[in-house]
Subunit: 217 residues, 2 copies
């Protein structure tokens, strides 16, 4: 740092990545109410709070049908990870994955625009159709589009292969809360993780995957 | 939808992407207090709220030194967009950009690990050094790492080229609030956008860029 600069050289800050993580997680565990979660679940919720910068997120998180164990086992077994957006796909830290799991996003497949037009739905929803038989035993991560989550549930109802687990954290103001309620209420008993209400997004989704993956190593 | 499925076929939801956007933005404008923003700023804040699912975000947003106009002009002039993470880089919608602007992230450059070790800082901070002379007139977008924002300010203090504008929305519990305060208080008068406090993240960062870009078309 040179003297006489615009910030007065007053840029003292923690530069050690591991120390930053440790202090961050300590703050989150001190502030967040995690009592209703298992230790594996709490590990995931801490990472989600870390990605969002939002301790109250914990109150909206719901796990069902053994998500933490099912998703971890799927990754260990080499399951692919299907993502609704490229942001989620990019956010998954490859070196954490226990079995070099493929991380896939079909949103920008050339077939998607026509599929969406034919079905009168969004590109995010139509992209789900391209997952095909690979959906069997996969980890599905919806971080953005409620229509993708609704569409997936409809496909499963109609006989599509059953994924191992669904991380359903679409974000927003139209359909997000309803799509997550539909996942949690879904009759097929697929392990799920949701954030109730409007909160969610690609960063929270990727953080959940990375937490599960690091637990699975 | 087939009959007799697990959700009872009860998956009525809005499927028209444009209608979903319009309804979302109408809800945000009805709920958020945007009175202190210019119209160009409000357009950006609405997109940031949309990405976060969080109306109260508006209260934490601060613009300085004409960010909206400066960032828009930079994009129209073909400025590159430097991002601290691949998630931000992936979140920038290319077809919105007015001048096929390059969108760059140097975090995974092979030189970064050694640079970080030499300087005793994070990879995110060291990656900033690779922006070099291209920083002149660029749009910088920090969506994740406080250390990247602190490091950038230190480089500018030390004589690095001056970017056209900085979107500084790192997220989290250690250094995030302080790094954004340092940007807003920085003496060089560089146009900035920050979210005060802990909130931020790659989705919010990309949304801000996309709002500015769509305004610039």
């Amino acid at each position: 740092m040179t003297a006489g600069n615009a910030t007065g050289g007053n840029l003292d800050y923690l530069r050690d990545g591991r120390a930053i993580y440790e202090r961050s997680f300590a703050i989150i565990r001190a502030e967040a109410d995690l009592a209703r979660f298992s230790e594996a679940e709490a590990h995931i919720v801490v990472r989600m709070i870390h990605a969002a910068g939002l301790v109250p997120l914990a109150a909206d998180v719901a796990f069902g049908h053994g998500l933490a164990e099912a998703a971890r086992a799927a990754l260990q077994n080499g399951a692919p990870i299907f993502c609704d957006t490229e942001m989620v796909e990019r956010g998954v830290t490859r070196r954490r994955l226990p079995a070099e799991n493929p991380v896939l996003c079909t949103l920008n497949d050339p077939a998607v625009a026509d599929l969406a037009a034919q079905q009168g739905t969004t590109r995010s929803a139509a992209a789900v159709d391209l997952w095909g038989e690979r959906l069997a035993g996969a980890l599905v991560v919806i971080g953005n589009a409620p229509t993708a989550l609704f569409h997936l549930l409809g496909r499963i109802d109609a006989g599509a292969p059953r994924p191992a687990a669904i991380i359903g954290v679409p974000v927003g103001f139209v359909g997000a809360a309803e799509s997550k309620d539909a996942l949690a209420a879904h009759g097929a008993g697929i392990p799920y993780l949701v954030v109730r209400g409007r909160l969610g997004g690609s960063a929270i989704a990727a953080a959940a995957v990375n937490a599960i993956a690091s637990d699975a190593l």
